[in-house]
Structures are given as C-alpha cells and as structure tokens.
Symmetry: C2
C-alpha cells in the first residue's frame, strides 16, 4: 500500500495517539502558541495549571503562553527550573511537589511543560506522581522534543548512575506543537532534531524517507510548507508504534534504532560535546552497517542512510574510542536482558527488526573501524 502523498501548505494539522481511554491529540501549527489556552481547558478540564519551563524559554514564550492560558480562564502558576540534564533529578522534582502544594494545587490541576525534552521529562514525572498523577500537556520547543520526547508518555528523571533510571509512563492529555518557535533554535540543534525524523522514516516508512531526501535542505531552513507535514508524519509514526505497544514490551523497541551505540557515545562524553541527535545519527549509520554485515539489509542501505545523515548536517561515524569502552557501555545498557541486547537492525530503508545480540556480535573484533 502506497501512503497518500503528503499534503503541503496546510498551516494546522492534527493527529491522535490511539490509546483507548488515554488517547490524546497532537496539534501541529505555525505561530499558534497564543491559541494554547482554550485547548488546555478542553483537554484537561483544569481550572489551575502549573506552567513549568526553563529561564531562556520562559523569557521568550512564557509571557504569551501565560496570557493565552489566563485568557482561557485558567489560574496560572509559573515555575522555572534550571536548564540542563544535570537538574533533571529527584531533588528538582521534590522542589516542584513543594511548590505545587504551596500554591494549593490539587488533583484537578494540570501541568503544562513548556520546553525541550528535559522539561517535559521532569515536569511529566512530577505530573505522573503528584497526588498519584495529574493531567499534563506537552508544549515542546525543540525539534527533538516535538518529534520524539513529547509523544509516547515516557517521563522520568536521572540518577547519578545514569539517565532516566527513575520514571513512569504517563500520557499527556495534549501535545501542542508551534513549529515557529524553532526559528530561535541553532542550526546544529535543528540538525540534531532531524536525526530522530530520519530515524522514524528509516525504521517504518520508505516513502517518507524519500520525501526527506527530497526536502532535507528546506527542512533545515524551516520552510513551513515542508516542515509541518514532516512533523506530522514523524509524530504519526511514533504515535502508531506507541499505540501498539505503550509500555515497550515489543514493537516499541524499534524506536531505539541508533540509540544503543548512541547512548554509549553520550555516556563516554559525559553528555558534553555531543548532542543526543548527533549520537543517534552516528549510531544509526553504524547499525545500518551491521545490518548489512549480518545479512539483514541489502548492500547500499548504509550508504543511503549515511548520505541523508550527512546532508542533514549530522556526523555519521562513531568516535574511535577503544572497543572495551563500547563493550562496557553495552554491559550497563538499560535494555539488556541477561547477556543479550535488543539491537535494532534495518531490513531495508523503511523496515526494521529487533534482534537479541551479544555485545561481541554488535561490535565486531575489528571495531571501531568503520565498514566501507
């Protein structure tokens, strides 16, 4: 079945994450931040909301979001948390619990997370656990958060031992995407977000992959006519996977394509110097190569993926760390089950599978030399 040709030009798009009684809409638009208020009221039925953001995002968009929420009749409490993954922790969560109680928030209150993935993860975790769970709304302001973190209900905080080791599955009531806020992102940040868009296409949709090959430069330039349908399609792919496997017992694992080695790279760098999307890009190109080596994918799969990754302004080769660093990173992989790791391979562009591999199978003896 050929998917319908993606429609260009429409300025407002909407899709639904089909999760039964936890179903929720994703609304995608351009310059729509000031229309958020009524949608939050409809989705949450709250009368009181906590708007959680980081200082820089708050300065840029906090005012217009707050005005929109207030104009819709909501009582708004603004909370700013320090930016950066280092403060996505239990201590920061505890501060938010205290602040929510001090403002008299109750079970009918809602949380609005305005920011990137870090804000969504932290505010979402607090929403998941405050009074055993209250409503929350994701308003992602980075491309990565728009196409990945804000869809799917994974929320959590870091421990010193690693990222997202404490968390929950707590679906938002609404995801509100105003793509225009991307105009204040750096080009590098846009590229990093495109890595997850490319991932979505590579694992599930060859037509979408071709569309990205046709328009990657227009996407980097944030041309809304190209950007909005791409955001819609990337979200739809993730939403469809999540709808079929909310708690990652099977299919959802394919979303980890490129992430196994990517995580090791992030960890080895101490989460400095390399962006998540960049690490994923390296991991994807590597995984595509292994998919060919292990005869899952036809020759040329890696080259085609690597070419798109490069045009998106992303790195395609893993750093040449000693093999033992990678092996050790795989040993502590959160998705390890016994000796094996659920590794995502491509069967071709647009089709993927999860295979349980030993670390030594993932990393050939000649590693880290890149396969050519």
């Amino acid at each position: 079945m050929t998917p319908p040709k993606l429609e260009l030009g429409k300025r407002r798009r909407s899709l639904k994450v089909e999760l039964g009684e936890r179903a929720y809409p994703i609304r995608i638009g351009w310059d729509t931040l000031q229309d958020l208020g009524p949608a939050v009221v409809r989705a949450t039925r709250a009368t009181q909301v906590a708007l959680v953001t980081v200082p820089e995002v708050g300065r840029r968009y906090g005012g217009s979001v707050t005005r929109s929420l207030r104009a819709a009749g909501l009582e708004v409490h603004r909370f700013e948390v320090p930016d950066g993954d280092a403060t996505k922790n239990l201590k920061q969560a505890a501060k938010l619990y205290d602040a929510f109680l001090a403002k008299g928030m109750d079970r009918t209150s809602a949380v609005v997370a305005l920011g990137g993935g870090m804000v969504g993860d932290l505010a979402g975790f607090v929403a998941a656990t405050f009074l055993r769970g209250i409503a929350f709304v994701q308003v992602p302001t980075t491309l990565l958060a728009m196409v990945d973190a804000s869809v799917g209900g994974k929320v959590g905080v870091n421990l010193q031992q690693g990222k997202n080791l404490v968390g929950a599955f707590h679906q938002p009531k609404l995801v509100w995407i105003d793509a225009r806020v991307l105009e204040t992102m750096t080009r590098r940040g846009i590229s990093a977000g495109l890595a997850e868009v490319i991932k979505a296409a590579a694992i599930r949709d060859s037509t979408f992959f071709r569309q990205l090959e046709d328009s990657i430069e227009a996407l980097q330039a944030l041309d809304p006519a190209h950007l909005l349908p791409v955001l819609e399609r990337a979200c739809a792919i993730k939403a469809a996977v999540v709808a079929r496997d909310e708690r990652e017992s099977g299919l959802r694992k394919i979303l980890n394509f490129g992430h196994t080695l990517g995580h090791v790279v992030e960890q080895a760098s101490g989460y400095r110097g390399v962006l998540h999307g960049e690490a994923v890009a390296m991991g994807m190109v590597f995984a595509a190569g292994r998919s060919e080596d292990l005869d899952y994918a036809p020759p040329g799969t890696q080259a085609r993926l690597a070419a798109l990754v490069e045009r998106a302004g992303l790195p395609g080769a893993l750093p040449e760390l000693p093999r033992r660093v990678y092996l050790e990173g795989l040993r502590v992989d959160k998705k390890r089950v016994g000796d094996r790791i659920s590794f995502v391979v491509l069967k071709r562009i647009g089709r993927s599978a999860v295979v349980p591999l030993l670390p030594a199978e993932i990393l050939p003896a000649a590693f880290p030399r890149r396969r050519d």
Copy 2:
C-alpha cells in the same frame, strides 16, 4: 440476590482482581509463607528479586521467605528499611534505587514487599518508578495491609506536608496472604485491622456485616476457620470496587468511608497515639451519624455500626478537639475539589454513596458533641 453462604474451614483460598491485562491473584492461606517462591516465579517471571522489609518482620519471617524464594531458583537481595511512616519518603526511595542498581537489577527483576502498609507503599512506589516500573509482589504481614493496602495498586511516599502526596497506581502481580503471621500481632493491631474489614461490609455487603456480628470475637482470636473466609470476602469487596474504578474517578471513593474525619484525627495527633484503623473506626461511627442526620440512612444505622466497632475493641467517638481543628483538617483534604469534599455516607448497613459536601455540612455547628 443473596450472596452464597461463606464456606468455613478451607485452608487455601484464591481470588482474582479483574483488571484486564493487569489482573492478578490474591492467595490467602494459613502457614503458607514457605510456599511463596514458586508463586513469585509464576507471577513475575523474574530471576532476581529484591525482598524489602523492616527489621522486626525480617527477623521473624525474612529467613523462611528468602529460603522459599531461593529454592524456587530466584536470586534474592534483601533490603531492610527503618520501620515507621516517617521514613516512607523520597529519600528512602532514592536509597532503594541506588541499592537496586548496585545489585545489577534490571527491568526483568521484581520487588517483593514483606511487611505492613508502609513497606508495601514504599517498595511499591520504588517498583512503580524504577526503570519506569518493574513487577512487584505484596506479602502483607498486618491485618490492615492484608485487607486494604495490599489490594488496589495505590503506592506512594509521604512529603513533609502530608501523607501519600507522591505516588502512583501500580498493580502488584500477586498478593500473598499468610494469615498465620497475624499470631505475632498485638490485639490492638488486630482490632485496627478489623476496622477496615467492618468498613468493607458497611459500605457494600449487609450479609457480610451480619457475619462479622456473628463472629467478631472469633476473628479477634484469629480462628482460621472464621478468619480465612473473612479475609477473602474483605479482599473481594475491595477488589471488585478497584476493578470497576482503578484510578478512583468515581466508585472507588466509597472506600474512603470513615477516612475523611479519620485522617484529620491522625493528622491532629501527629500520627502518634492513634492507629489508622482506630481513627477510621471513629470516623465511620461519626459518618454513620451524619448519614442519619442528613436523611441518607434510617435511624439505628449508627447504633448498629457503633456496637460492632465497640465489640471489635475499637473507639467509636472522635476526640473532642475544637471544631476549627476539624475544619482546618478538611480544608487541606487531598480529595477536596473546589469547596466541596467527597464525603461517604451510608444509605443503610451494606450500602453507601459519595456526596459532595461543604465542610460546614460535614461538621454541624454543635460539633464535636456526638449525636445520640
């Protein structure tokens, strides 16, 4: 429809909490702790478990439980947390996360909570949030935990501002009740547990209530022939309510019968001097009186409840604190929605309803004088 006469004498009983893909069994027996291991393996499919308990319970039962788990092929890590509600907090949860990671626990590991409600709440919250949720098993060792806390999936920790303000709904995979462990409980502790048994009967099952009237002394004496069917019926009532309203959006609120004022009494006492079940008993007798005053229940309802409460060794009158203390307690009620509190009234013995009342309606001007 008359419920079937409850069968006496059977030493093993089992019921199921009907929650679709989250359904789980409650197994009730006498002297069955040493048979726990195979049931945990079957219910969780884990190979590695964390056994979380408090020192006193660990000393009494930790050895036989550990042996049973190990004999079933499980790797067992034992963790003891200090007893008492004061340590049911985020700090203690953080210590358990660290300890779990240090032992190499992963998503396929399980948590076994051995103890009273505090252990189940804390260990359950850690199980709910560690790696976004792992399997857990409740092995309650107090009567209160057997008939109330261990069934229903409510887990959580306290904040300084109040009890259970942070938490989740995380259903266990198995509840394992060995009623024989009650032999080491104090008579006062047994009575406190009976308060929740009486509550279950009062709100949902007049036949069960009559059965309690017929056997309350045998229950206090822990006669297994009477105790096991009563445990089964009390758990079944709670399980049926939870199955129809897992996340307390409606029906489940009737389980709060007696708890609104009971919580105020506990809070005013600083959670010292009065047991939860005792506070609930006071609150139930008061609520039954208000049910008559407000014409929900026929005359005599309170007197009948008060008589059973007294025979169970429980207090039936609220302490004579100033009315403003009670009003302030209601103001911060977690279940408050706007100005009103979801107050549970009896319509008769065995039938209840939730009505939204103003604090001034709950507490008549003449309060705290008890209605006679």
